[in-house]
């Protein structure tokens, strides 16, 4: 048997290394390409909508395949803003979604605090009852809710859009899950230190559950922003309309101008997308913090 020289050993080592490296690179790039393809497929409608928003309407309705605008124009945006008070709608939606978010965070965190830190009779039953309300679809109660608020003369106002949504069973449930992983000894320690419950919530609990609050805020804001049925039912004047309804008004005013409508859609999805991008980290961390950390 012949012995290998040092050079030969080195050579063998190098080729083996190179092969492994190549294989790994191949794997990574295959994965990347697959991901890009899927991402593109999923984003296609959105990207196409953005593209349409910049097209003159003639281009869209031609027989040719037009994925990108040949003569990009901003007229669609200008027309959309002129046809309906889109900025007013956006402002309304911001006010409504913002206040609902703040309200839900306060009410849900307080309720979840008592469900997870305090001991009182009937706690379990009350919580079950609360969870049971999550099983009733919103559509089932919408008429009775409408009759109630109209009886109070609340129609067509900000408070009718906001107040019914100031708390949510889902939010309480989410917060309670977060608090369950919160070390109880911190609460006990604060109690012995002489801390009141309210003070504990604002000085210790909330600062330490920022990620939960972030997740809740993003989730609630987007839900409130996308609300359709309820605002449609309870608002009548242009002053009180939110964006989702405003956009459908573009449809009824000028039924055939697809490009105009899509320009409107692009304007109104910008805030919710940007909220999502800003809050994305918090959202993912919050949604999974219970699951991963255990």
């Amino acid at each position: 048997m012949s012995t290998l020289t040092k050079e030969e050993i080195d050579h063998l080592k190098n080729t083996a290394n190179a092969k492994a490296l190549q294989r790994r690179r191949l794997k990574t790039s295959a994965l990347l390409i697959t991901n890009v393809i899927f991402a593109f497929l999923i984003l296609l409608p959105l990207l196409y909508a953005v593209s349409i928003a910049f097209m003159p309407s003639g281009e869209l309705f031609s027989t040719e395949m037009n994925l990108l605008p040949k003569h990009p124009t901003l007229t669609n945006f200008r027309d959309a803003l002129q046809k309906v008070p889109l900025f007013r709608f956006v402002l309304n939606s911001f006010i409504v979604a913002g206040l609902i978010t703040i309200g839900q965070i306060i009410s849900c965190s307080l309720a979840a605090f008592s469900f997870s830190f305090l001991n009182f009779k009937g706690k379990e039953v009350l919580f079950m009852l609360l969870m049971a309300t999550m099983m009733i679809p919103g559509e089932a109660t919408i008429i009775s809710n409408y009759l109630t608020v109209s009886g109070w003369g609340w129609l067509d106002s900000y408070h009718v859009l906001i107040i019914p949504y100031l708390t949510s069973a889902m939010g309480i449930f989410l917060f309670r899950q977060f608090y369950k992983s919160f070390p109880i000894s911190l609460y006990e320690s604060a109690m012995i230190d002489g801390c009141s419950n309210i003070r504990f919530i604002f000085r210790i609990l909330l600062p330490l559950t920022k990620s939960a609050i972030g997740a809740m805020a993003v989730y609630t804001f987007i839900n409130a922003w996308n609300m359709y049925m309820w605002p449609l039912l309870v608002t009548g004047s242009q002053q009180m309309r939110t964006v989702q309804i405003g956009i459908s008004m573009l449809n009824s005013v000028d039924a055939q101008s697809m490009t105009l409508m899509i320009a409107g859609v692009v304007i109104i999805i910008l805030p919710s997308i940007s909220i999502f991008i800003i809050g994305q980290k918090q959202l993912i961390r919050g949604m999974f913090s219970g699951a991963v950390k255990g």
Binding site: L186, E188, S189, M191, I192, D193, G194, I204, L208
Partner: protein, 411 residues
Amino acid sequence: MASVTLKHIEKIYPAQDKPDGKQNLRISEEGVHAVEDFNLEIKDQEFIVLVGPSGCGKSTTLRMIAGLESISRGDLYIDGTLMNNVPPKERDISMVFQNYALYPHMTVQENMEFPLKLRKTPKEEIRRRVQEAAEMLEIKDLLKRKPGALSGGQRQRVAIGRAIVRHPKVLLMDEPLSNLDAKLRNQMRAEIIQLRKQLKTTFIYVTHDQTEAMTLGDRIVIMKDGVIQQIGTPEEVYDHPTNLFVAGFIGVPKMNFFKGTLLKTGTEYKVEIEDVIFPLPKDACKTLVSSGTLVQDVIIGVRPENILLMQTESLTQSGSTAKAQPLPTQPANAGLRALPGTADVSELMGATVQLHFTACDGDRTAVIPALQWESMQLQPGQPLAFSFRGSDIHLFSETSGKSLLREPEKV
């Protein structure tokens, strides 16, 4: 700076809330009895240690004193005031938790200021007290840091600091050292002793580690299954355990227990283990006479450090009753009777050696000086002989497990 009195304190959990793995507790119609008839008078500035295996109710008792658990029955007095239904913050106590329970988003300084701020202490006073505590605990350099940037030992110091800045009447500690590694634990133990001298407050300390209990406590309360087994100074519980449980729990390594018989001739008592007779010393006989103890089966307890190992040459010739010769390093024990055994493994602990051996149908332990061990050259599997002095014998009733050598008034 206060006395604490617990009178017939009980904790009963509803049966459906029964924690898993606590089958040892008594269950009645009312529920699970986690603590039963706990009576203790803690003097001002005393250091009391509650010790026992996990699930014995020691933490529950501490939490009842803190006000974190409700008291099912009985009365709790702090400085003569009934505290049963007083919320924790009005009891003027502070507590150090096992997991430190520091507020992670506050700096060390803010953590320590927090309880004072809640009590609306003037700013000057807050600064002074935090400085004072930080100096005492040597954490002055850490004041600006957050708990996340501290080591376990430093965090525990901060937790103690937060507990002492308030100058509480009673300082409660719930296994404060059990999250630390062995070396740090020893160091912190020494520091707690030091701290105790400076603080002049009442300490109630919970631990499952009998070494901590022995070194820290003025008095130790040993608990098992929610029931107090013995209350006494470290010396008392070590030298005169009231029952088998205390005898086995206090002391490392564990006490050796032998089955035997108590014999009586006139006013003289003797114990017999496997046909070998050990006479009992006079004061033990006196106690037994005064309590009118009869001839019966007993359990004889001997601490590992009281086991005397002997040379075995003579033993192999004439059996267990041979006159074994004491080793030169031991005091003269001529005339002691010896029992046979077989050496198992040995552990060198430094100055001493723990020898595990088999004798009288059981595993036994002896602690001997390392020097003596070297001179013996005992290999695993080799026969050995051992003995003990009558004065080192602890005697327990086989039926009740109670000590027979404790005078009735002490029980």
